[in-house]
Amino acid sequence: MDRYTTATLRVNGQDLQVVFPTHHTLLEVLREECGLTGTKHGCELGECGTCTVLVDGEPVLSCLALTAEMEGRSIETVEGLQDGNELHPLQAAFADLGAAQCGYCTPGMLMTATALLAENDDPSADEIRTALAGNLCRCTGYHKIIEAVEWAAGVVRGDAGAGPAREVLFGSSVPGEGS
């Protein structure tokens, strides 16, 4: 019996040669063999969505997918969102709006939202809720997450002035700006 498999995985646009135990999930191999620990390990049962990565553009639970099935497919993780020093609009929106508290759900939220925006760059709040229904957050209460996706969608569309007003980000009185 082949206890180990050797495969070339295409992760975030790069080909990685990896050797991994044949029965290991994509989550295990991304974190352990590829050293990509941005993808989080949560319930391991399909209930929380924090392990979400994109496989050929679709959100998939890496805790319930075998790595052995991944050869020849394109895998995207949260590490691939940033472009050099530039955050992806979703990352920037989550950070600026405080759409994360502990941040454990954030990589999964970002990946699911990335797939949504690739398909629909002007989603309604309901469409965002439906798309994110498989990503649990125990901290934020979801409002800011939904707002952050709406804002990032505006940036992706190139809407001038997309994003929250200054008082949303800094409160009503911004230091040094008078009243």
Binding site: D2, R3, T22, H23, E44, G46, G49, A68, A133
Partner: protein, 333 residues
């Protein structure tokens, strides 16, 4: 008892590329084999170490088991077609929207991207005593923990229980029965076709299995006949939470009207019995009558007449009655 929900013990993995090869492997490994579809139910069992197959036969590389094709006014759906594909397929949406609604109500977007229609109908029950590794009847023991006096059985059966009171969790199953789908089953020895209505196993026949599939058999495709194409459909799943959850009670119905009266109807409920069931009592009240509020109520009442709730699930009786009533009212012309 559940150990840790984390890493799986090793198994031998096979990735056949044809149904024939997969069936040879199933025959060779017998009871030690496990067919792997989307893995959403499979890996839960393997991580908990309650089921420990030696040979996992991954159906994911078999292209002949995937896809939806038009077939004499009906459709043929490969068992490995994902739930997302079923929910969004233009052919399904156009002619058999009941099935697309059902597939769309399964779990979460990620799970629909990975889960297959074959795995959805073949999945095991979610009774937590059994999933937690308790040695109940279904696990080969001699007690049902869910029917014990202090048991938590809010999600369990109100109808048709036989020792085991667990329900079938599949959302697509009642829709497939309403559409009179035919399940194509193959083994190394040949092919048989079973009506969806007869595909799900009653615990009175075999308490350890959810379907009629034998260990060496695969469900290869599901055929939906033209019979109910573009009929009037109704689907409603009631669950505790709207984001994702298993069903408490689900109704799926298909009806044909003629001259303001119901000419023919199939009403199916899930979440109330060990398997998804046609409510023939309600169908017979309905056929030949107008689809209106009072007939809906009469049909709903007829459907729950034989219900025997457990300690914590009496609420399922009015819920089932009202869903049937709504299914009928939803057809009012």
């Amino acid at each position: 008892m559940a150990v840790i929900r984390d890493m799986m013990p090793a198994f031998e993995l096979f990735r056949p590329v044809s149904v024939d090869d997969a069936l040879q492997l199933m025959a060779r490994h017998g009871e030690a084999a496990w067919a792997l579809a989307g893995g959403l139910d499979t890996f839960d069992w393997l991580k908990d170490r309650i089921k420990r197959p030696e040979a996992v036969i991954d159906l994911g590389a078999i292209s002949e088991m995937r896809g939806i094709t038009a077939d004499r006014g009906g459709l043929t759906i490969g068992a490995m077609t994902t739930l997302t594909e079923v929910a969004t397929s233009p052919e399904v949406v156009e002619s058999f929207s009941l099935l697309s609604m059902a597939a769309f109500h399964v779990a979460t977007p990620q799970i629909r991207n990975q889960g297959t229609i074959g795995g959805n109908v073949a999945q095991d029950t979610r009774c937590w005593y059994y999933r937690g590794g308790w040695p109940c009847y279904r696990a080969g023991g001699n007690i049902c923990y869910a029917a014990a006096p202090k048991a938590m059985n809010r999600e369990h059966c109100i109808l048709g229980a036989k020792r085991c009171v667990a329900v079938n969790p599949s959302d697509t199953a009642p829709a497939l029965i309403a559409l009179d789908a035919q399940m194509v089953i193959r083994s190394a020895g040949g092919e048989r076709v079973v009506a969806a209505e007869d595909f799900f196993m009653s615990p009175a026949v075999d308490i350890t299995r959810m379907t009629v599939l034998e260990p060496d058999e695969l469900l290869t495709e599901i055929r939906i006949p033209e019979t109910w194409s573009r009929a009037r459909f109704y689907f409603e799943k009631v669950r505790d939470r709207q984001s994702w959850d298993f069903s408490l009670v689900t109704v799926a119905s298909a009806m044909r009207m003629s001259g303001g009266r119901v000419q023919d109807a199939r009403i199916v409920v899930n979440g109330v019995a060990p398997r998804p069931v046609r409510v023939t009592e309600a169908e017979s009240v309905l056929i030949g009558s107008p689809a209106n509020e009072s007939i809906g109520l009469a049909a709903g009442e007829a459907a729950i007449r034989r219900a025997k709730p457990l300690r914590h699930n009496d609420f399922k009786r009015p819920l089932m009655r009202n869903l049937i009533r709504r299914a009928i009212r939803g057809q009012e012309a």
